[in-house]
């Protein structure tokens, strides 16, 4: 083991002995998400660097402390990109943070989300041992998929040391079209196009306007405009603004909720809303009492996240049914029996 990995391992063993919590930090750009973890800060930023990248393999492997911006610019040099388009909340954002949060950008509904592109993870477990799951190949079904289990686990199951990701060639052209439509018509429109062969790669609706992004070869993009009409929206940065929550919608002084649902589902009846992923991801701000909002979701059987609470929340920031909660708890207790890795970040129960 290298010196730095030895250091990681010793810290974990020590925390285990002393029953102390550890708080893994990459770029610390998602601190707003969930409860603050109290514990010794454990920075991964100095465990960084691309380990392996061959554009012909469509696979990149990098250490968890590698800045995501560094990975993106390396891929860009070879005309490739991260299709799940992770949000970059700060220039310090790291690969480890991207994997452990599992957040995907506007194109996640078309190319796939983070988990769809994770091929392998090297992790350090609760005993300070290095374990490898998945690999640096496109297909691998040997053993349980522990690698994907780490995606979105917020560091609560172990320390992610290294990740192998599938990447894709960048489409040669793209276009954003915009249409004046209300929420209902926009969702209907998105899903109609999503069911057609047109190369749609992102959508969002806000304030009676919908935006659709198409990516593909030069000729196919030309034909999209011809077929659909609409107004060409020349500022392609709008997708980065949505992804990184810099769009004016996200600049509000109340609690931000996220709903994950079937795309062609009914309106939530919220006026202050932004909708992505053809309707499958819906954001809204609300000043309602937290419990009232949770009751609404419970009655409607909707999965939601208290994404950016205005005040410290009273309950878990995500909802889960009882049996799922029990399975989740058991997974946590199995991989982190001494509970040193980020207790209660998302769920109060574990």
């Amino acid at each position: 083991m290298s010196e730095i990995l030895d250091k990681f391992s010793n810290s974990i063993i020590k925390a285990n002995k002393e029953k102390k919590n550890i708080r893994f930090i990459g770029g610390d750009s998602k601190k707003f998400f969930g409860y603050d973890i109290i514990g010794e800060e454990f920075k991964t930023s100095n465990y960084s660097g691309v380990v392996d990248y061959d554009p012909k393999e469509l696979i990149i492997t990098a250490k968890s402390g590698t800045k995501i911006s560094e990975i993106k610019s390396l891929l860009m040099q070879h005309n490739q990109f991260l299709p799940f388009d992770p949000p970059i909340f700060s220039s310090e954002s790291t690969l480890g943070g991207v994997i452990s949060s599992g957040f995907s950008g506007p194109s996640g509904a078309y190319y796939g989300s983070v988990k769809d592109f994770v091929l392998g993870n090297k992790i350090m477990n609760n005993n300070g041992e290095i374990l490898n799951f998945g690999g640096r190949v496109m297909k691998n079904v040997a053993g349980f998929d522990v690698s994907r289990l780490m995606v979105g686990s917020f560091g609560t199951l172990g320390l992610i040391l290294e990740t192998s990701l599938k990447v894709l060639p960048k489409p040669s052209d793209e276009i954003t079209l915009t249409f004046e439509k209300n929420e209902k018509d926009s969702i209907q429109f998105f899903n109609k196009i999503a069911g057609s062969p047109l190369p749609m790669t992102a959508t969002f609706y806000h304030d009676n306007k919908c935006f659709l992004k198409f990516s593909g070869s030069d000729n196919s993009i030309k034909s999209v405009k011809k077929e659909l009409g609409g107004e060409v929206f020349s500022d392609n940065d709008i997708w980065d603004e949505i992804r990184d929550m810099k769009h004016v919608f996200f600049n509000q002084d109340s609690t931000l909720w996220k709903v994950d649902t079937l795309p062609y589902a009914q309106s939530l009846g919220k006026s202050n809303t932004l909708i992505e992923w053809n309707g499958a991801r819906r954001w809204f701000f609300s000043d309602e009492e937290e419990q009232d909002v949770w009751d609404f979701f419970k009655n409607a059987n909707i999965q939601a996240t208290n994404f950016k609470p205005k005040n410290i929340p009273n309950s878990s920031i995500q909802n889960l049914n009882n049996i799922s909660m029990s399975l989740n708890k058991k997974i946590k207790n199995t991989l982190d029996p001494s509970n040193i890795f980020g207790k209660s970040r998302v769920f109060k129960e574990f």
């Binding site: 061959d54 012909k56 696979i59 005309n79 599992g102 995907s104 996640g108 989300s113 988990k115 769809d116 477990n125 005993n127 041992e129 374990l131 690999g135 190949v137 496109m138 297909k139 691998n140 079904v141 040997a142 053993g143 349980f144 998929d145 522990v146 994907r148 289990l149 995606v151 979105g152 686990s153 894709l168 960048k170 040669s172 069911g195 062969p197 190369p199 070869s217 030069d218 000729n219 196919s220 034909s223 994950d260 079937l262 795309p263 062609y264 589902a265 499958a280 991801r281 999965q303 996240t305 995500q318 889960l320 049914n321 049996i323 799922s324 399975l327 989740n328 946590k332 199995t334 991989l335």
Partner: protein
């Protein structure tokens, strides 16, 4: 525990007579799956007709600690559904309804016994289809696809089963029913949906599956490129992808395969070629036109001496017919073959193919290569005659050496067929003791009594020790008290 007459009665209390198979004559068709070399008569075969009956069966098995092996269509190639001699073989084929096709949301809700291809057939009227297409798609069930995380020829572009499933309704050994996933792209809590897919019947049984449906591409065309050397063909694979194209399918066949296939189905392949590549493009008409031009020129630059482009669907199907007939064509040369499933980085293709050729000479067994070149997923077919014990043993050793070779270049022992019993020893090469322990501990979360598919997929540490390839760190066992299965 053995299955006693009293226990059989417990099952008969709620199952039809035809759903409980007791005699050897009745059970005989179920003694193996697609891996035919290791048949095993099951203790009892049960065929529930719905979720309610399945829950009852699982509760009885849990109460008496009776092993359960789940089976779909029985087409698996790694022996994952080979029965347990004193256990229940739970055959899910009667749960075979397409519950709903929701064209607005582009999803289908189906029961596990539904055949893979029938999902696409039913979705076709909406212009939609289910993308993963393992070669056995006309027979294999979607439940089996979940268990194995099946692939197919289109995975490079469209992903494996795990990338095309939105939620699963499963029964735990407690009899509780839980839904994994949320029918959206993000799901709260740990990603148990992905964790469950590919778990080879070790964690629970699926009773309903929600799959993603994709719009059918407007156009599909395929390029057939012939090469004078395997090396050039191997490099062409990387060059196509390096040029910025993700083909819908990119398959390679060596000369042994093309000759066998030509003899069998007359696909019109250039049999003098050392290797041929089939490269498919799909999408809008404009996209396909651009891609086919680019693929053809990259193939030429990479040394292809002949390029054919399918002019219509009939010709495209003819090109694919040969690829799809490769396995049965090889089966005509010798009575038996092992189909290996190692996956490697594409840059190691030429090296690995040369090494396989050397092993073929060493073991005096023929080996033909047909594979998903775009994914680096090899399917060497080792030909032998199982009635000759010496040949069977040599073929097993040959296969094991190929898998070790795959691991040595940074690959894996299985890309899409699963471990089952076939590759269980090789798991000891690929994973360390702590990694295997992690698998065992996680299985316990779902199956504390260890009744689900015992002795498959994840080797016990004892088995690895006996096999002689356990990767032991500092000679210490950190989890001496966990049960081994």
């Amino acid at each position: 525990m053995q299955i006693t007459k009293d226990i059989i009665k417990e099952f008969q209390n709620f199952l039809n007579d035809e759903s409980v198979l007791i005699t050897n004559e009745e059970k005989k068709p179920f003694e193996c799956d697609g891996l035919t070399a290791y048949p095993q008569m099951p203790g009892l075969v049960l065929l529930p007709e719905n979720e309610e009956e399945t829950v009852k069966i699982i509760k009885i098995c849990e109460k008496h600690k009776i092993p359960i092996v789940f089976r779909g269509a029985g087409t698996g190639l790694s022996g994952g559904a080979i029965p347990h001699k004193s256990g229940v073989l739970l055959v899910m084929s009667k749960l075979n309804k397409i519950v709903e096709i929701d064209s607005n949301n582009r999803i289908a809700k189906v029961q596990p016994g539904v055949r893979n291809i029938s999902i696409s057939e039913s979705a076709s009227k909406f212009g939609l289809y289910y993308a993963p297409d393992p070669s056995s798609q006309i027979a294999c069930s979607i439940g089996g696809n979940i268990a194995e995380n099946s692939g197919g020829v289109h995975c490079l572009k469209y992903g494996l089963t795990v990338n095309n499933i939105l939620s699963l309704r499963i029964i735990l050994t407690s009899g509780e029913i839980v839904t994994l996933g949320n029918n959206s792209f993000d799901s709260n809590g740990y990603d148990l949906l992905s964790f469950f897919i590919g778990s080879e019947g070790m964690l629970g049984v699926v009773t309903e599956i929600t799959v993603k449906l994709l719009p059918k591409p407007e156009k599909t065309q395929v390029v057939l490129a012939a090469f004078n050397s395997l090396k050039d063909a191997g490099e062409a694979v990387g060059n196509v992808i390096g040029s910025g194209i993700v083909p819908a399918g990119l398959e390679m066949m060596d000369k042994k395969i093309t000759v066998a296939v030509e003899d069998f189905v007359k696909a019109g392949y250039p049999v003098e070629a050392e290797a041929i590549l089939l490269c498919e493009s799909d999408g809008t008409s404009e996209e396909v036109k651009d891609e086919i031009n680019q693929i053809s020129s990259v193939m030429k630059e990479s040394g292809a001496y002949e390029i054919r482009i399918s002019k219509n669907d009939e010709e495209r199907n003819k090109f694919w017919l040969g690829r799809k007939s490769a396995f049965p064509a090889v089966g005509r040369i010798l009575p038996d073959y092992f189909c290996m499933d190692g996956t490697i980085p594409k840059k190691s293709l030429s090296y690995v193919l040369e090494e396989i050729e050397k092993l073929s000479k060493k073991y005096s067994l023929q080996c033909a290569n047909v594979f998903h070149a775009g994914d680096g997923n090899l399917h060497p077919l080792i030909m032998f005659d199982a009635s000759d014990d010496a040949q069977l043993k040599s073929a097993e050793k040959f296969g094991a050496d190929i898998l070790k070779l795959c691991i040595s270049v940074g690959g894996t022992i299985t890309g899409e067929h699963g471990v089952g019993i076939e590759k269980i020893n090789e798991m000891c090469h690929q994973f360390s003791k702590s990694e295997l322990n992690t698998f065992h501990l996680l299985k316990k979360v779902f199956d504390p009594s260890a009744i689900l598919n015992p002795d498959k997929a994840i080797p016990t540490l004892n088995r690895c020790a006996e096999f002689g390839h356990m990767h032991v760190h500092k000679n210490q066992d950190k989890f001496p008290n966990i049960p081994r299965f």
